[in-house]
């Protein structure tokens, strides 16, 4: 059943709106009376199209590893992982496990009061590690606030990601040291930064590519559409990587679109593809393909990674208010880590020792994260006034001085006693 057809069948009635034209001050004329039917009322029109639904994994889903861990062939995308070694595969597995471990640690640190908030990526490890590992060192990444796995691939120290969630800074790492931009909270806005950056890459004559992450909810923002327009018109080397994790806080994807999101790209003149976001191999292959299109000067691509947010939106969220446990359970069967593990084991690419070692590494990572976070100092009070401007500003100077005097007055008062 397609969403479009459901929508089309929806009757024009208004639950709770008892009287159509009762109290409004403007424009409420009862127009129905003048309606007339035309000869062609059953026609749906030449340009109308049948679309696959937004909810299921239709035939359009690129998959290289089934949920059961079976490797399946794909003539288009296999070449992008043709040279992958067992070591590479173990590397991807390790990335996912460590990312999940880090994420779990952050969640528990939030519960312990060490972080004010955490946005878990649980369930999205394959989408992030697959795409993140597809990037080249000189590529540039523009994340949302949930790309902990991508940050990992870029070599960002995971503890750097915790500052803003602890409330000691608003990001604060150097985006240029790993070509990984700051987390961006205002939904969709980073897609334009990525596009502009990519325009700059093209101007420089470099063959780097840029990748912008965003969510299914973000796809509705005007900024995202504008980034599609700009990147298409300037043929910018940018990959739009949409993690459709089925939910924007409490709203299912149907509240954002009635056709699959990857199709959005076509109308802007560039390709879109939907990939199984819980299949790390497929995410790697499709993202490589898209990044290489960008490098070759073929412009933007939209990749929709079809995945699932296994946890709450953030630690402040309570998903029991809006979704059923069964949904989560169904997705657990498609777990990205389990899937690769099954494949590794079945193909003898990893032995017990590997898994045991990883387990130990994982614990060590958790421990380190815990320790670093607990030791993270509160910022100096004067940090309020730092970096507001690069070249200084008289008002900031004035207020900093007033603040200093005010602070000093407490010291004086204390001394006085």
């Amino acid at each position: 059943m397609t969403v479009e057809s459901t929508a089309a069948r929806k009757p024009r009635s208004s639950a709770g709106t008892k009287s159509a034209a009762s109290t409004g001050t403007t424009g409420t004329k009862s127009a129905g009376a003048t309606g007339r039917k035309t000869a062609a009322s059953k026609r749906t029109g030449a340009a109308a199209k049948k679309s696959p639904g937004t909810t299921g994994a239709g035939p359009e889903l690129v998959q290289l590893l089934t949920p059961e861990g079976k490797r399946v062939k794909d003539a288009t995308y296999d070449p992008y992982v043709a040279d992958i070694t067992p070591e590479d595969l173990r590397g991807l597995y390790r990335d996912m496990v460590l990312t999940r471990r880090f994420d779990a640690e952050a969640t528990s640190l939030q519960r312990q009061g060490e972080l004010g908030l955490w946005a878990s990526l649980l369930g999205q490890e394959a989408a992030q590690i697959g795409s993140g590992r597809a990037t080249r060192e000189d590529d540039y990444v523009f994340p949302t606030y949930r790309e902990h796995g991508v940050a990992w691939c870029r070599g960002v120290d995971p503890t750097n990601l915790l500052g803003m969630f602890r409330g000691v800074n608003n990001g604060g790492w150097d985006p240029n040291s790993n070509n990984f931009h700051l987390y961006t909270i205002v939904i969709g806005s980073q897609t334009l930064h990525a596009t502009g950056y990519a325009m700059g890459v093209a101007k420089d004559g470099a063959d780097s590519a840029v990748i912008a992450y965003f969510g299914d909810g973000a796809s509705s923002q005007g900024d995202v559409a504008e980034s599609f327009t700009f990147s298409a018109v300037y043929n910018a080397p940018v990959v739009f990587f949409c993690q459709n994790n089925q939910w924007a806080i409490s709203e299912p994807t149907e509240k954002q679109t009635r056709v699959p999101l990857y199709q959005r790209a076509q109308g802007f003149g560039f390709p879109g593809v939907r990939v199984d976001g819980n299949d790390v191999l497929a995410c790697l292959a499709v993202t490589k393909w898209a990044l290489e299109r960008a490098r070759r000067g073929e412009g933007p691509t939209l990749v929709e990674a079809y995945t699932y947010r296994m946890g709450a939106h953030t630690t402040s969220d309570d998903p029991t208010k809006y979704r059923a446990d069964e949904e989560r359970e169904a997705w657990e069967a498609k777990d990205p880590i389990l899937r690769l593990r099954t494949y590794l084991e079945a193909s003898n690419h990893a032995d017990e020792a590997f898994f045991a070692e990883l387990e130990a590494e994982s614990e060590a990572l958790g421990k380190r994260v815990r320790e670093v976070v607990r030791a993270m100092p509160d910022p100096d009070h004067f940090a309020i006034f730092e970096n507001v401007y690069a070249d200084g500003h008289a008002l900031v100077d004035e207020e900093r001085a007033q603040f200093a005097a005010y602070q000093a007055s407490f010291a004086d008062a204390g001394e006085g006693k």
């Binding site: 008892k18 409420t28 004010g116 409330g167 954002q256 309020i384 005010y406």
Partner: protein, 326 residues
């Protein structure tokens, strides 16, 4: 229901419920306002009781939310829009400033835009970036909008009723850190005018003027000052557009000193206008310049610094002392 003690968030919920019940043209729109009941649960249970056609989960696009609310208003509806947090109103700013605010005048009064935009605002809840801002001056400067903010549950209930009944667009700033503060709400009371300030504590030596979350801080400061023998009057402005200058003037003519307190940055904050206008109106009455306590000219800081950034008891008392020292 009549009189009942309830939290500020609950009072708004009740007020929305009352409005939905009373007028089939009232709609609730926003991100996550449906099943979830909003991230602060202000719309909790409303979709369940009034259906998806009246309590509408929207796509994640603030310009779209306000823009379609304008269209619904043109069709005769009265949309009450929720912006999830203060820092996320800006994608809708163009629709608010160039369309919502001006359309009534553009049509020489022939159409009306009864749209309420609810914005949980202000800091003090330890949130991440964009979740603690106070952008009210950016709306109050714009003609065609009305801008209000309740400080307590009772006002929250009644001001929301009045905002929804208003035929003008109203930007309704909700003091999010006071959502859980309880007060008596009498739903049978006859409320005063929406844009009138209220003396919430009488005093003789100095007037503290505030609105929304800072009213409580000012009341605490006044209580502390009393112990030092200073008699402080506290005025809850309630409305930032229009501002009830008559009430401020009356108070200042009595106390001869004024300190304005808000969380928003001082520079070009509402306190600037109050200082300028009251100085003009009370030039010969003022014993001290109007002082202002507010945020600094800096982005809202990370949570661990917000206590330093936000006006608190000590900073208000410091300004009181400075004023009294003149």
């Amino acid at each position: 229901m009549a009189a009942e003690k309830m939290a500020l968030a609950k009072a708004i919920n009740e007020s929305l419920r009352t409005a939905l019940d009373a007028d089939p043209k009232v709609l609730i729109m926003g991100e996550d306002v449906g099943k979830l009941g909003g991230v602060f649960r202000v719309t909790d249970g409303l979709q369940k009781d009034f259906g998806e056609e009246r309590v509408i989960d929207t796509p994640l696009a603030e310009s779209g939310i306000v823009g379609t609310a304008i269209g619904l208003a043109l069709r005769g509806y009265r949309p009450v829009v929720e912006i999830q947090f203060d820092g996320f109103v800006f994608p809708a700013y163009d629709q608010i400033v160039t369309q919502l605010a001006k359309m009534h005048a553009r049509a020489l009064g022939k159409i009306k835009l009864p749209v309420v935009i609810r914005i949980p605002y202000g800091g003090g809840i330890g949130a991440v970036e964009h979740h603690s801002e106070s952008p009210e001056a950016l709306f109050a400067h714009v003609a065609g909008l009305k801008v209000v903010s309740p400080s307590n549950a009772s006002d929250a209930y009644w001001m929301m009723q009045q905002a929804i009944q208003s035929d003008d667009p109203v930007i309704f700033f909700e003091p999010k850190r006071r959502y859980w503060d309880k007060a008596e709400v009498n739903t049978d009371a006859i409320p005063g005018p929406l844009h009138k300030a209220r003396v919430v504590r009488e005093g003789a030596d100095l007037t503290l003027a505030a609105y929304g979350p800072m009213v409580k801080v000012c009341l605490e400061a006044a209580a502390a000052a009393e112990e030092e023998g200073k008699s402080i009057e506290v005025l809850d402005l309630r409305s930032m557009s229009p501002i009830d200058f008559d009430s401020v003037q009356a108070s200042v003519e009595k106390t001869r000193r004024l300190v304005v307190v808000h969380e928003a940055p001082v520079f070009l904050g509402t306190g600037a206008e109050i200082a300028a206008r009251i100085t003009e109106r009370c030039f010969y009455h003022l014993e001290a310049p109007v002082l202002r306590v507010g945020g600094y000219h800096a982005p809202y800081p990370p949570a661990r610094l917000e206590e330093e950034y936000l006006p608190g008891l000590d900073r208000v008392l410091d300004a009181v002392d400075r004023s009294l020292a003149y």
